[in-house]
Symmetry: C2
Subunit: 536 residues, 2 copies
């Protein structure tokens, strides 16, 4: 027998969304069995869905010649645990995280002035930036986000810090230094001095990220013109040219058609362009690696243009509702051939959770039939609910959709062999009543546990639906990126002391190679133990 | 000095919404000081907002001649704790709780057939009913709901059990046996045999509740014709007459204008009525003690009729979005003089939390401007955002609004002297980073804590906004109804051993009188201690 490839073995229930064309009906794939991940590549090396018992599992281990030190992570059936692909947040503003929940009754343009620009400008202070960025990475990981496309600020130092922190914590990320040089639409206290300054600062940030992660395995740069009104035509053009000068071309992210007043503003600022989308297209910013956030008020012509360039859309329903922007017509986008993922848009969005974004995507799609827009553009579909997103479809957008948006559809979003193991372990909890003392004690006895109530008669599909509608970060027990554990809500995942016996531990620490102390912050390692992050 | 009235003393930050006319702008009242509650009546006996220190607090105690056994409950400033009025859920279906999160992509009428009637009919089984009702009471209390207006099922036994459980657990509640006798719109397996059977079963339930709580201090009956299509005209009339035959008249609850197809159905079923609201009015069911759930598609004429009868509306935004029903025009209702409260509408609504309902009320009010309905009826207001509900307004609806809906506006919803002390203690948590090890350990260190992140620079108003947008049941540390502790997430609240020293404990158990073992379920009291419920 050939020497076995070092792997970690995962055993239990695996739920994902099979990759399909956008026009197909999405259904959950629910499989029980074993899956193993190469510890060197972090990719899925194989799976066997015929394994249904511990005896078969042991037989599988012997058959592969895996060593006695093999780590096995089990999803507990009695606690309704399952493995699910990590969420991909295709649009999030890291520096705005401290403002989560603060927006009053404002809409986009006054929200920027009142809440957002003042906070972002203050993140030039590296200490403040570190506090905010540590927290947003902690919170997104705790919510199962294995990949985030971050807007940072205009500050090179703080943006570099965000890249370093994501890299050290082991979160896959695109990191974008925000470009905004149009003095008419940027506050005087928070603006790039010129298109040239904007470009050279952006290049500094790219150089830092490339020095941090030369192969872009975990963290990559993304060009980030804030949105058309804050950028001079010169700046837009130079960023488009910069993207194309790299091989492969650099990622690009910006905003589009979030708010009706914004659309009018762009029309007045760029009278020579046929549309908002055309502004970006004219400056070579509509590419297959471009993420356009929002896309609430696009015309069909713009959707067709975006589809023809294979540019991607980040749907941010929580933010669109919170700021009263409107409801993005996701079905129309998909049927126009546009690839769509989900974004939290923190802090226009109030939540760092893609599960919440999936929930909101479902909700607003159910309200779409009541909008003016819908009655005009989709009259034929008003009656059949065609525009409604199912739970399965929302989960698809949050995993496979997001993977395609960040141009990693072959690498992320599911459990196929060869894919990177970016995964969350979800625990719904035991069947109600979880204890015969439930009635006596009320809810305190379960204060640390799931609020997803499983009564025992639900199918696996129904259990997943309950998770989507009533679950939260409490249900995320562990998160892996590229096979490395990057978050756990349980001490036993963090032990890292190699004490797990062969087939012994119900759960255990994956990997075991090169775990490093967290040093980016200059903070010493305390008594509480190991760090959830792997240097690579 | 006269002998002091036995009280419990509460000290810290108190947040509520001052009682105002519906047309006024709502603002938070944020006060720091001491408030005391009579242990015999459960009502607020006094308050002193000049108390700002422990020394002043001790002076207050001496001045009142309170004994050394006085219990003092402190809200911890360092953990951003505050007292807030208990939430009032004006519309919730207790038997549907196990279906929370299960509705697929259905709308009202097919949802009833597919998901709801089968589950409700199964609750005739008392064991199953007990499991569901225990859980829904636990979950609503844990989310700060001190008063719930419950729909039960058609079963007298199970409905009586719900009343007993709410009473024993100490939750204030209206309990309604559902009436549905129209064979054309009730499934054959789940229907009252006739209007007469419906009426007599309802009377049995009323008798049980009156025997349980003769003065209606905690639990009261509420007449519950499901909605017009499921009830014969004879049944509607007899319920209207039954309500009027009591003094004061019995409470009434039903549904109205949730869904457009439902509105059309009612028009066809009651051709002699001018409108859906008129159907209820013709049967004497529109009274000042009537709760109408949903009210999404009312005409202005119907709103005027409802206002003239002083009937109330329960706004259930999570449900209305989940089932695609539409967006209730809350501003228009309020300006028409209709009293509005919030409802979770479990399980059309997926969440048992009124905080979530408040959040959803804010969100959908921000989308209202994009609806067809809004553009027609409120054209003049489209531009000014007049229809948008502020966070403060949503909290008002969830407390004061709900109190008015259940006809207890003088007793519940705020901290005025003489009001019943139905209150939640909210903990947002310490300032970020909560520990210097945060960066090293990621979020696991705070796994049991709040996900509301306070950075230290937020005003109290902003902290409350963060709670509304990002908080959940983890922030509810304790809940009192009529001064009695009915839920706590902390063991120290439950100790109940009288060990708190004078001014000693940071937190402690209120009351101390007649705590009883939970016996309704026939379950023995286990080792874990006392029961969160007070027999009265």
């Amino acid at each position: 027998m050939a020497p076995a490839t070092p792997v970690t073995l995962f055993y239990g229930t695996f739920v994902d969304l099979p990759r399909t064309k956008s026009s197909s009906k999405h259904e959950l794939s629910i499989r029980h069995g074993a899956l193993w991940v190469s510890t060197s590549t972090g990719r899925i090396a194989g799976s066997d869905w015929s394994i249904t018992s511990e005896a078969q599992l042991q037989s599988l281990v012997r058959q592969h010649g895996w060593p006695s030190t093999l780590r096995i992570i089990r999803a507990r059936e009695d606690l309704n645990e399952f493995f699910f692909p990590g969420f991909i947040d295709t649009h999030i503003h890291a520096p705005q995280y401290p403002n989560s929940g603060l927006f009053g009754s404002s809409t986009l343009l006054d929200w920027l002035e009142t809440y957002t620009f003042p906070l972002e400008s203050s993140l030039g202070n590296l200490s403040k930036a570190r506090t905010a960025y540590d927290k947003v990475i902690s919170r997104t990981l705790a919510n199962g986000t294995t990949y985030a496309s971050y807007f940072a600020t205009i500050h090179v130092g703080a943006t570099n810090l965000l890249a370093t922190l994501a890299h050290t914590r082991g979160q896959r990320a695109l990191i974008g230094r925000v470009c905004m040089d149009n003095p008419s639409f940027c506050p005087s206290y928070y603006t790039d001095g010129s298109a040239q300054e904007s470009l050279s600062a952006t290049k500094e940030n790219i150089a830092h990220i490339h020095s941090l992660d030369s192969e872009g395995k975990l963290v990559k740069p993304i060009l980030t013109p804030r949105f058309a009104p804050t950028c001079s035509p010169e700046s837009l053009s130079s960023l488009g040219a910069l993207a194309a000068s790299h091989s492969p071309p650099l990622h690009i992210q910006t905003h589009i058609s979030e708010n009706k007043d914004e659309v009018s503003l762009v029309q007045s600022l760029f009278p020579d362009s046929e549309s908002y989308a055309d502004v970006y297209d004219k400056h070579a910013l509509l590419t297959k690696r471009t993420i356009l956030a929002h896309a609430v008020h696009l015309t069909q012509t713009e959707m067709d243009l975006i589809a023809s360039r294979d540019a991607k859309v980040s749907h941010c329903p929580a933010s669109n509702s919170a700021l009263g922007s409107g409801i993005a017509p996701v079905r129309q986008l998909l049927e126009s051939g546009v690839t769509v993922g989900l974004g939290t848009d923190v802090s226009g969005g109030y939540s760092p959770s893609i599960l919440e974004a999936a929930r909101q995507a479902c909700l607003v799609s159910r309200l779409l039939r009541h909008t003016q827009q819908h009655s005009v553009t989709l009259a034929k579909e008003v009656k059949d609910g065609h525009e409604v997103l199912s739970v399965e479809e929302a989960l698809y957008l949050g995993t496979r959709g997001g993977a395609a948006v960040v141009d990693m559809a072959d690498d992320l979003g599911g459990f196929e062999e060869g894919m990177l193991f970016d995964t969350q372990l979800i625990r719904l909890g035991g069947v109600v009543p979880s204890s015969p003392l439930e009635s006596e004690l009320g809810s305190p006895v379960e204060k640390n546990d799931s609020v997803v109530d499983i009564f025992g008669w639900e199918s696996w599909t129904e259990r997943v639906h309950k998770w989507v509608w009533t679950g939260n970060d409490r249900n995320v027990r562990a998160v892996w990126v590229g096979g490395a554990l990057v978050h756990s809500s349980e001490d036993k995942f963090r032990a890292g002391n190699g004490s797990e016996s062969f087939l012994g531990a119900l759960t255990g620490l994956v990997g075991g190679q090169d775990w490093l102390k967290y040093i980016a912050g200059g903070v010493g390692v305390g008594a509480l133990g190991w760090v959830l992050g792997r240097k690579r």
